[in-house]
Point group: C2
Chain length 273, copies 2
């Protein structure tokens, strides 16, 4: 099939619309062009983006798709009336059954993130990001006890991006701590972690994959050698087994999947609200 | 109304389901309890989670809500048949009109993130996170020219979380660079930024808010004093005006909103695909 364009039209950032739309589109065997049109929060802007979509359709000779997350009924109405795309209305489809279920009408508030910057939850997310940065790679043992989770593993096993993701998406305070050759020689957990063992979660990785990642950083180094990677990974896994620390392999997992698995295992109280 | 529980049931991480569900639920004037059940990718697991949901409903005397993103038709069928919650099926609702529109059937592939860890796009996201960390707070001018965007602003104006978000969500290489009193005395942009001005985007912040954020970090310091914050913010804004650098205020915006605005302004090529 020829080029087809998908628009994500939102009164907020459009990130939710696009993320969700992507998982729907992933069910189809081709990758259409994406265009995001955020902050469409007035009838004027709705009209303008409808025209842009219509022009795209004419130019491409194919009707575009438009995922819409427009909460305001009037804005949505104007958009739908003027837009000749196949419009998938992501809000109304679910609002109606919920209004029925809850027995109340919704408030049609625009933008998921409106005023979010002032909220406690947002403040906690930003604090969690700062915490992850301050406690990246075992940088500081200060306040380590405040961590919700401490990731450990060999260098380049995926600890840093996972910690940042846990902070950013979930507001989880995630520290991370490297397991280094000295730890393997001592055959002991880093001292700072001993009293915090129940918060620890290990990441491991396939040695071949690790060698390839390390070689991108420091080509030809002993650090990146496959033999050395095998040694470190074996020792790290043996240590986690010995210490009874849960772990998973990051080799075939995205940071989203790793984070979700960790949360299912650790189940921090703050996530049950 | 009494306690009501909302379940997010997904064959993947459930993050998409929960993010989208949250923006729907934000339209209602109460906050139900959330429970996420990820990786529900077999009929056995579907049955198990349906039972858990039913028990919750009995215990609470209210029918739960279940947002479901289950791609596999059989798993979805078993879940729907056994679950007594109000099930909001987020996939099928949109797949059917798209199959019709595209004139093909979808492949019902489970999990948006399956094998994503091996993809080019994922690799770029991880690289972008590493780049953001290496170029946080003006740490390094090496490879600065590789940045897609360089955020600048006074200390604690929101540069670091925004850079990390741009990297993690969009795979954008975002460096960030502080504007410090020395720059204001010189009345010049930091030298490293001069040749890269067209990639620069400024963040500013309300001085009162800045003082309050800085006071959390270094209570009672000159750095955190309102008078000093006013001076720095004024000078930073004057400099951005003088240099013709676009900027926005982070005071009332979430990192998602800031990132979206920056992307609309900078429009990096790599996002048009």
């Amino acid at each position: 099939m020829t080029q087809r364009t998908v628009f994500f039209v939102s009164d907020g950032t459009g990130i939710t619309a696009e993320t969700f739309g992507n998982s729907i589109l992933a069910q189809f065997p081709f990758k259409p062009r994406h265009i995001r049109r955020p902050f469409i929060d007035s009838t004027e802007k709705a009209l303008q983006v409808a025209q842009e979509i219509n022009e795209t359709g004419v130019r491409e000779g194919q009707r575009p798709i438009a995922f819409a997350t427009l909460v305001n009924a009037e804005v949505l109405e104007v958009f739908k009336r003027h837009c000749q795309a196949r419009v998938l209305d992501m809000i109304s489809s679910f609002i109606a059954p919920l209004e029925d279920e809850f027995g109340v009408t919704s408030n049609h508030r625009v933008g998921r993130f409106s005023n979010v910057a002032q909220s406690r939850e947002y403040h906690d997310r930003i604090e969690a990001i700062n915490f992850a940065l301050a406690h990246d790679d075992g940088q500081s043992a200060r306040h380590l006890a405040e961590a919700d989770v401490i990731l450990l593993g060999v260098s380049r096993s995926g600890k840093t991006p996972t910690s940042l993701y846990l902070a950013m998406q979930h507001g989880i305070k995630a520290a991370n701590y490297p397991l280094i050759p000295e730890d393997f020689e001592r055959r002991k957990l880093p001292t700072a972690l001993v009293p915090l063992k129940r918060k620890c979660f290990g990441l491991t990785i396939d040695p071949e994959r690790l060698a390839s990642i390390r070689n991108e950083r420091r080509p030809g180094s002993k650090y990146a050698e496959l033999l050395n990677c095998r040694y470190e990974v074996n020792e790290a896994e043996a240590m986690m087994k010995r210490e009874g620390i849960a772990w998973l392999s990051s080799t075939h997992k995205s940071i989203e999947e790793i984070a979700t698995t960790i949360l299912s295992d650790i189940r921090p109280d703050r996530l049950i609200y």
